[in-house]
Amino acid sequence: MYLNPYSNTHFFSFFGILLQRLLAFCSGQLPFAELASDEVQILVLIGVALSSALVGSFLVLRKMTMLANALSHTILLGIVVVYLLFHELFHLRAFFIASLVTGILTTFLTEFLTKVIRLQEDASIGLVFTSLFATGILLINLFFPNTHIGIELVMGNVDALQKNDLLLVYTTLGMNVLAFTLFFKEFKLTTFDRALSSSLGLSPTLYNYFLMVLTSATAISAFRSVGVFMVLAFFVVPVLIARLFTHTLSTLIYLSMGIGGLSALVGVALSRHIFTIFQVGLSTGGIVVCTLLLFYLIAIPFALKRRVATSALYRAVK
């Protein structure tokens, strides 16, 4: 057992040590096996943030964020059922099945309630995810007695992360990158012009399902580190920040990925800093969300100023 090199470090010295170790790693002096727990956390959270920003850009633009909220609840049922069937969480097969089934089932049930039973859309979403989530909690209570899984699900637990989690998170990231690179044009078209895409033979519904499956995969890959609800902040906040500064889709995606990754890095450093100074171990996932919020708060005045300037320019031209 080796000592965690980051214990008792402050905010800036954290980055110093990180840089040193990165250089050592690049020059081959530091084997991959000696990854410190803070570094695992950084890697996992950055992976989650990148995936989320990528998926989130399209969710925000398609006005589907509340469906993502529904998914963040229903993945619980997916995770529990798959765990009961396969008795393992890290297995990629189990993971893929869980995300596929949850994504499709949630979307299908919601559409069924809206289109066949003719319940209004907001109520259908709300009804489906709350009942599936309640079923999930009931199953947990029945099959896993004496666990705090209910609480950990909500809070996330970065300290329990292992290198296996890296595999899961980066498989998801790879899948997302691949999907959005291959089908970028299709996603773009079905997002911005449904009529044109339908007439070209691209079904917007099909891509809705596709996006929902990717979203549920991302949420499942994130639930061990940040819990099922806070991942929503990873989906939405970076995109909304980026949205203040750009109107170009590709810039939006890169910018929000950058913001997400940066806040993950800063969040872990902040968490370590607070632990060093106050001896209080705060939830790192929560801190990353707070960091994201802080970024948003900093960005808002710039955006408002820009907006005032644009409207003044608009008036002058007119």
């Binding site: 909220n69 009804l127 309640a134 004496n146 939405v236 171990g281 939830s283």
Partner: protein, 435 residues
């Protein structure tokens, strides 16, 4: 089951849960009718940092006996703050509704989690109190809680009752409300306060995570039974009440059946409520899915009966066989047999010999009536709407199953009781005879 109301340990949780769910059921209608159900989801999560801060503050100030009040006010304030933030995002930053909802939900919840994790290992008792609000816990409630929560539930119901007219007019016609001099922003504020209050009360029994279900499910069930707003409030309150009772009942019973495991009340209440909703969506009279499909199926069955009656009527001279009927209706012989069986039971046809069928006098009259409706409609289409006589048959083929006796009378009068249709076929008179 009766001892849930008399037992000193079960009484408070049971009655408390019922009152809370009653209030959220009533308020849910307000949200449901405006199609803003997801507002409840966001605001319930937005109460979480308020709850955590209240628990922590009460512990630091040493005012634990005032904890319920601390939590209520903390949760209410943080829900209202969430509303303000959403307002700012939408108006000033032009963020879309769904993104604003999602942002406030996740951000407030994240802040709450961060604060809660701060006391996780240092103040375990407080941490457990906070976590009880995630999935709801009524077991620890006492008679004092009934007084507080019951009083607040009644306050909410009273507010809805007092401002019924204002709230009602706001849902259905905004410009009209404004023209009557009711300040739109005033009602909006009232609405938000009522919703936030209901959530703040409800999270004690249902929990932050699932609270929105208790706004949606009772209202969605109630909508299946009535079109009137006032009745909807009643139904939704009633459904909330029984979900609250059976939810806490289940959570107690399950904990007894599986000793050593705790079953939070929230998921149980929500499962009961959504079961009620699913049953209502499927089987409610008039609007239920199963009922709707049954109506469609029985209409089709009736139509086939009438078509077969018509077919036999047309071929009354030569008897018609089962095979011929199956062929001209394009249905399987089994199905046709079923329909013929039904027609025989009604006494409209009889089988003279093996698989050959003729009409009884009564059946003759029925078949004639359908032919009459068909041909009357054709006359009407040609004479009054000016449709070419070669194009009227198909439409008449449909309408003949729908026209009621009153409409038939009116058509007869309007068309002056014609004797021939546009194809020069005789129109049977009301008794079914061709004159």
């Amino acid at each position: 089951m009766i001892n849930f109301f008399t037992d000193p340990f079960l009484r408070a949780p049971t009655i408390g849960a019922m009152l809370m769910c009653f209030a959220s059921g009533v308020v849910g209608v307000l949200v449901f009718v405006q199609r803003r159900s997801l507002l409840g989801e966001t605001l319930s999560h937005a109460t979480y940092p308020g709850v955590t801060l209240a628990v922590v503050a009460a512990a630091f100030l040493g005012l634990d006996e005032w904890l319920p009040l601390f939590i209520l006010s903390g949760a209410l304030l943080s829900a209202l703050l969430g509303l303000l933030v959403m307002h700012f995002l939408k108006l000033r930053l032009k963020v879309r509704e769904d993104s604003a909802l999602c942002l406030v939900l996740a951000a407030f919840f994240g802040v709450g989690v961060t604060i809660a994790s701060g006391v996780q290992f240092t103040h375990t008792a407080q941490f457990l109190k906070i976590q009880a609000y995630l999935y709801g816990q009524v077991a620890t409630m006492t008679d004092i809680h009934i007084a507080i929560y019951g009083g607040l539930s009644l306050l909410i119901v009273a507010m809805v009752f007092l401002f019924y007219k204002e709230l009602q007019s706001l849902f259905f016609d905004r410009p009209f409300t404004t023209s009557r001099g009711i300040a739109s922003w005033g009602i909006d504020t009232l609405f938000c306060v009522i919703v936030a209050l209901a959530l703040v009360i409800g999270i004690r029994s249902v929990g932050v995570v699932l609270m929105s279900a208790m706004l949606i499910a009772p209202a969605a069930s109630a909508r299946q039974y009535t079109n009137r707003l006032s009745l909807m409030f009643l139904f939704a309150g009633f459904f909330g009440l029984i979900s609250g009772f059976f939810g806490s009942y289940l959570s107690v019973v399950l904990s007894e059946v599986f000793p050593g495991r705790s079953f939070a009340t929230g998921p149980m209440i929500v499962l009961v409520a959504s079961t009620i909703t699913l049953l209502s969506l499927a089987f409610a009279p008039k609007k239920g899915l199963a009922i709707r499909y049954f109506r469609i199926a029985s209409f089709r069955f009736n139509r086939l009966q009438e078509n077969i009656l018509k077919a036999i009527w047309r071929h009354e001279k030569e008897k018609i066989s089962l095979g011929e009927l199956a062929e001209c209706q394009g249905r399987s012989r089994q199905y046709i047999k079923l329909v013929l069986f039904r027609l025989m039971a009604r006494g409209w046809i009889k089988s003279s010999s093996a698989n050959l069928y003729t009409l009884t006098p009564e059946g003759h009259q029925q078949g004639g009536r359908i032919i009459r409706l068909h041909r009357l409609w054709e006359v009407y289409l040609v004479n009054y709407i000016g449709v070419g006589s070669e194009r009227v048959h198909k439409n008449a083929e449909e309408i003949e199953h729908i026209l009621s006796p009153e409409l038939e009378k009116k058509l007869t009068r309007l068309l002056d009781n014609p004797e021939r249709d546009p194809h020069n076929q005789p129109i049977p008179q009301s008794e079914g005879h061709v004159s």
